[in-house]
Amino acid sequence: MTHHFSKRLPGVVGLVLVVVIVLCAIFADVLVPRNPTAQSLRDRMKPPAVELSNGSTAWLGTDHLGRDILSRIIKGAQVSVSVAASAVLISGMVGTLLGLISGYYGGWFNTIVMRVIDIQLGIPIILFGIAWITLFGAGLFSVILVIGVWGWVKYARLVHVMVLSLKERQFIQASRALGATDLRILFRHIAPNLLGPVIVLATLQIGEAVLLESTLSFLGVGIRPPTPTWGSMVADGRGYVDTAWWIAVLPGAAIGLFVLGSNLFGELLRDYLDPKTE
């Protein structure tokens, strides 16, 4: 029993990390000790746990404009969580649907889907993201769309391959023999068998989405200031690494913990929902 628990421990820790960060995002406005965008020139670049001019303590220090880093990290969780959740939802739905249809029917639709996948794999995501942002403008909605549109390929490939083998199985043949329509076979018989692996993939894709969003924000083509995002906070602090390391290092740690948490939790889920693969 203890052996089993120690094996699950990383996954449980991951779940706790994700839950804490999601709660931070939901209750950000209540939780922040100070206004995350309020500047205070008298309190610039104060190290962690130092008392500020107004008598309060900045537990994670302040940045080059005197803004409270802890408050900005809590507020920044909102962007990461909402982008990751919506982007994964979009790409999961689009990818699963396209994979279902292309795997089940094959033919010209399948050819087109596979070619589009090939082409998309030939374009670097960062460039795609930047081209998209220059075209549709920066902002939360645009970033969600670019990551959502980008991510469908993995779902489509996974679902495609699974459908190819599922549709030859006997229970599918049997329901076809009983006169079930394609629609019924697809959504009543095939789709439920895909659920586990797709959920596992989606959980693992959360980290990918968080990394992408923070990378775009870091490069200055993501969500616009003054909205705090973890990626842009790292970019802000990049120039002060030698004098005030905490400005860049702490928000970067938040990104790492969120991605780590969702990856660990995804691995745990995989053990439960998709035991065949490692």
Partner: protein, 305 residues
């Protein structure tokens, strides 16, 4: 064998054409390139004259055909910013990117193959736990953050390496380490899990039963069988490494294509962007082709469809 090569070679122009078409229209829809060429206080007459001179006043489809015609001759136009042929501009950045990518690819192979093999061999040991931590962290930490941490520790605190730029060997260390960690994180897991699978096969039991030493079982009997899947992921990662080193190049001020391309996109220097994408697409196609061929040489069980 020859059929699959022929098929790939015939597919290549189609893929290149499609990528160039999409990028051309996306970039053109994103803004007026004339404004980049004239100074901010230019008069409307001057702007109009420049637009006519560059052919931006023609219908988009006409610009597109002109672009394709010259692109096929390796002419992507003159870089708006550097006033030189765009193709040459991009090629000028290529050695730096290639050097960094080659260094990182070499480093990550040297790290990931032994680490993956030994963690499968001694499953559950400290080396297995270390390799798990190594790959989980490598996949979770954003590379720009790892880059900053490395700069903080090795350049600022310890003064061992330069902060950035391209120069001697010491300039290569940090950026290739950052890239290699990211790159090898996936590879270590793959080597480990595919080796574990192979070690359960009957022919491994046979090899052990006939008394082959364990190192020979692992390296000669088992490892030979995971070469093909490892190579596939390795080369896919290599493509990503060449094209995706953008962030690392920016963090370490490395003068490569990625960094130049980001600058070009932000400046709307279309010819440079298109030439860079053209080169990237070719690299990607060549890597895929070589992978397909090598896979068939390494694993005769793979059959053409």
């Amino acid at each position: 064998m020859s059929r699959i090569i022929l098929k790939r070679v015939l597919q290549a122009p189609v893929a290149i054409f499609a990528v160039l078409t999409i990028v051309f229209f996306v970039l053109n829809a994103s803004g007026d390139p004339t404004m980049v060429l004239v100074s901010p206080d230019a008069t409307p007459d001057l702007i109009e004259a420049m637009r006519t001179k560059m052919g931006f006043d023609r219908p988009l489809y006409e610009q597109f055909f002109l672009f394709m015609k010259s692109a096929l001759q390796g002419d992507f136009g003159i870089s708006f910013r550097e006033k030189q042929p765009a193709f040459q501009v991009v090629l000028g950045y290529f050695p730096a990117t290639l050097q960094l990518a080659a260094c990182a690819a070499l480093l990550s192979t040297v790290i990931s193959v032994p680490l993956g093999v030994f963690s499968a061999w001694y499953r559950g040991s400290w080396i297995d736990r270390f390799s798990t931590a190594y790959s989980v962290l490598g996949q979770s930490m954003p590379s720009f953050w790892i880059g900053i941490i490395f700069i903080l520790i090795f350049s600022v605190k310890l003064g061992l390496t330069p902060v950035g730029g391209r120069g001697g060997f010491s300039h290569l260390i940090l950026p290739s380490l950052v890239l290699a960690w990211h790159f090898s994180a996936v590879l270590v897991r793959l080597v480990r899990s595919s080796l574990l699978e192979v070690l359960n096969e009957n022919y491994i039991r046979t090899a052990r039963a006939k008394g082959a030493p364990e190192w020979k079982v692992v390296w000669k009997h088992a490892f030979r069988n995971i070469e093909a899947p490892t190579l596939t992921v390795w080369s896919l990662q290599l493509g990503a490494l060449l094209t995706g080193a953008v962030v690392t190049e920016i963090i370490f001020s490395w003068p490569g294509i990625g960094r130049a391309m980001i600058a070009a996109v932000l400046d709307r220097d279309y010819p440079v962007v298109l030439a860079a994408i053209f080169i990237f697409t070719i690299i990607y196609l060549v890597i895929n082709l070589v992978t397909d061929i090598l896979n068939r040489l390494l694993d005769p069980r793979i059959k053409d469809e």
